[in-house]
Symmetry: C2
Amino acid sequence: MNKTPKITLSDVALAADVSPITVSRALRNPDKVSVEARARIDRAIHELGYVPNPAARALASGRTDIIGVIIPSVSNNVFADVMRGIDEGLQGSGLGVQLGTTRYSPTTEEDLIRVFLSQRPAGLIVAGHDQSPVARRLLEGADCPVVQIMEVGPAPIDLAVGLSHFQGARAGAAHLLAQGYRAPAFLGAQMDPRSQRRLAGFRACLADAGLDDDPVVTTPEPSSVSLGCRLLADLLARWPMTDAVLCNNDDLALGVLFEARRRNIRVPVQLGICGFNDHEMMSAAEPPLTSVATDRFSMGRQAVGLIRSRLAGVGPDRGSSVDLGFRLIPRASTARRDG
Amino acid sequence: MNKTPKITLSDVALAADVSPITVSRALRNPDKVSVEARARIDRAIHELGYVPNPAARALASGRTDIIGVIIPSVSNNVFADVMRGIDEGLQGSGLGVQLGTTRYSPTTEEDLIRVFLSQRPAGLIVAGHDQSPVARRLLEGADCPVVQIMEVGPAPIDLAVGLSHFQGARAGAAHLLAQGYRAPAFLGAQMDPRSQRRLAGFRACLADAGLDDDPVVTTPEPSSVSLGCRLLADLLARWPMTDAVLCNNDDLALGVLFEARRRNIRVPVQLGICGFNDHEMMSAAEPPLTSVATDRFSMGRQAVGLIRSRLAGVGPDRGSSVDLGFRLIPRASTARRDG
DNA sequence: TTGACGCATGACAGCGCTGTCATTCATGAT
DNA sequence: ATCATGAATGACAGCGCTGTCATGCGTCAA
C-alpha cells in the first residue's frame, strides 16, 4: 500500500508554467488553449503521471463522466448483449459505466435512480417503459439525457431505443399459422412487461385467426433451458393437441427442443418451435431453430449514441424514439410445409 | 429538465437543529450520535428528501462507495454469472459497481486500472492473474482491497478467489479416459490464459496416460455454439479417430452435440462430450452433457465478501486466496461404460 | 471537592477542480 | 491615432462534504 504522492492540477500547472485553470481548460476544451501552452501542459502531464481526480471535477462542475445503466438483472442474457453494445458505443468517449440492477422491484429501481441521479451522471440508460410514477417523475426531472431501452412505447420519458415486443410475438405466431400449424401455444418465463406484451401479441394473432382457445403456460421464474423442458411438459399435459410453441425467449425454445427429443416428438413435423431474440445458438441447433431476431447489440450501442449526441449538443429532441424492429428468421424447426 | 433545488447537508442540519458535521456523522457513524439527535436528523432527511452528494464525499474523504470491476468482456457468459454474484454480494452494503472491459488488451487494462484507481474506489475486482507488469505494479500500489477472480495462482496481488483451470481440465480429461475413451481431443476458443491452462491440464493428463498424440483444435475467436460445430468439423477432418472431446467451455460442447447429431454420430457411444463450467443448459440437453462445474456465482459473491470484510476491518490477510475448486458432473454424454 | 475521563457536539479548514468574471494584448476598422 | 473586437490567460470563490482538532458537560474515583 505504498501511497503515491498525489499529483494535482496545480503541480502540472507549475511544471508547465501556466495557471491551474489553463491546465483545466487544456483538458476540457483543448481548442481554447494556445498550441504552445498545450504542448507544455501535455508534456508535464506525461512526465508527472498526472491523473485527474474525478470527484473534484464532479464537485466543481456538477457533472460526471459516468453513464448509469439500470437493468432488472444481469443474469438475463439479453442484457449481456445490450451491455456489450453499450460498452462498444462508449469506446473512445472517456465515459464509464455504472451498473445497477433492480431485481424487478419498482422500489429498488426508484432508489437506484435516486442514487444515480445524485451522482449527476452524463446520462442514464434504463430498461423498459414501465417505471413507477415516482421513478418516472425522477427521470423526467433528471438534467441529463435519459434513454429507455428494450422497447418503444407511446410516450418516452426522453429518448427510447427498442422494438415492439407485441408485434414481434404477433409475427412469430403468424409465422406458425402460415406454416400450417393449427394449435400453437405460448410458453413464457420471467413474465416481465416485455414478456407480457409478447403474450398479448400472441393472443392478438390467435384472435385474428379466429382461434379462441388460449393455450398459454407461464411462470414468474427466471427463464432457463431446463425451464423450457418443464414448461413443455406442463403444456402437453394440459393441451395435448398443441402442434407448435411460441417461446418467450430462446432459452425456453432450446429446452423445448431437448424435451421434444426426449419424448420422441418430431420437430418440426409434430411440433413447431419458435424462439424470441435469435440468440447465436439458434442457428447452430439441430434442427436449427426459428426465432424472432432482435438486435440487442444495436440497442445498447444506439442508446449510447443518443446520449453522446445529446452531450455534443447536436442531440435528438426530447421524445424521439428509435424503433429497431425485428426480423422473423424461419428455420427448420418450423418448416412443416417445405421440410 | 426542471432543476430540483439541491438539498445539502447544511439544510438538513438547520432543520434538525444540529451542526452539519453531526449530520455527517449520523450518516457515517450513527453510533457516535445521540439517539435523539439521530431521530431529528433522520426525520429532517426524510422530509427534505436529502440525498448525499457522493462527489463531495469522495473529495473530502478520499474514498468512494464504488467497487470497480474489470473483466475482459461482457459477452462471455461466464462473466454474467460472476456479475450476478457480485451484485448479490453487494446487497445492503450501499456499495455500487463500476464496470470496465479490457477486450483482452493489456494496455486497455492498464488504462482502466489507472482510471479506476483515480476514483479511489472501495475495492477492485479484476479477472485473472495475468496482468502486465505495469498493471500489477499499479494494483500493488492501490490503497484499497484488490481481488483477482477466476483463478487461483501462486502469488495473488492481494486477494484471490477462483479455481485451478489446469486441474479442472485434467479431471475432465481423466474422466474421459476412465469412461473408456481412447482418443480424446481438446477443443478451445477464445484462448485466454484460463483456456491455455485448461489445455495444459488436458495435455498433462494425456501425457500421464502415455498418449503422445496431441489432438487439439483451438482458435482465438470468441466462443459460441456455432463455433463448436465448426471446431468439431475441423477436428474430425484432422483426427478422424477421435472418440471424445473435452471442450474449453459449454457453448462449444453444445455446438459439438448439435454437429454430432447432424452427422449422425452417436453420443456417447461414438463420441463422448465434456464441457467446462456446467452452465445450466448442460443438464437439460438431450443427452445431458457432462461438464466440469465451476461456481461462478460464488466467485463474484465471495470476491465482494472479501472486500467487505476488509473494509469492515476484520479483513483477510494480504496474499490469501480462496480456492473454490470444481466438480466433475458425469452425465449421459460420456456414459459409454454404463450407458 | 477535585481532577481525570469519556461522550456528544461543534469550528475550522481544505479536498482538487471549474464557473464566472476580469484582464491582457494583438488585430483590424475607422 | 483611436477604439472596438476577440483570443488567450488568470484571479477568485466555492462546489458539499469530512478529517482533525477543540470544547462543553456529566460521571466517577479519590
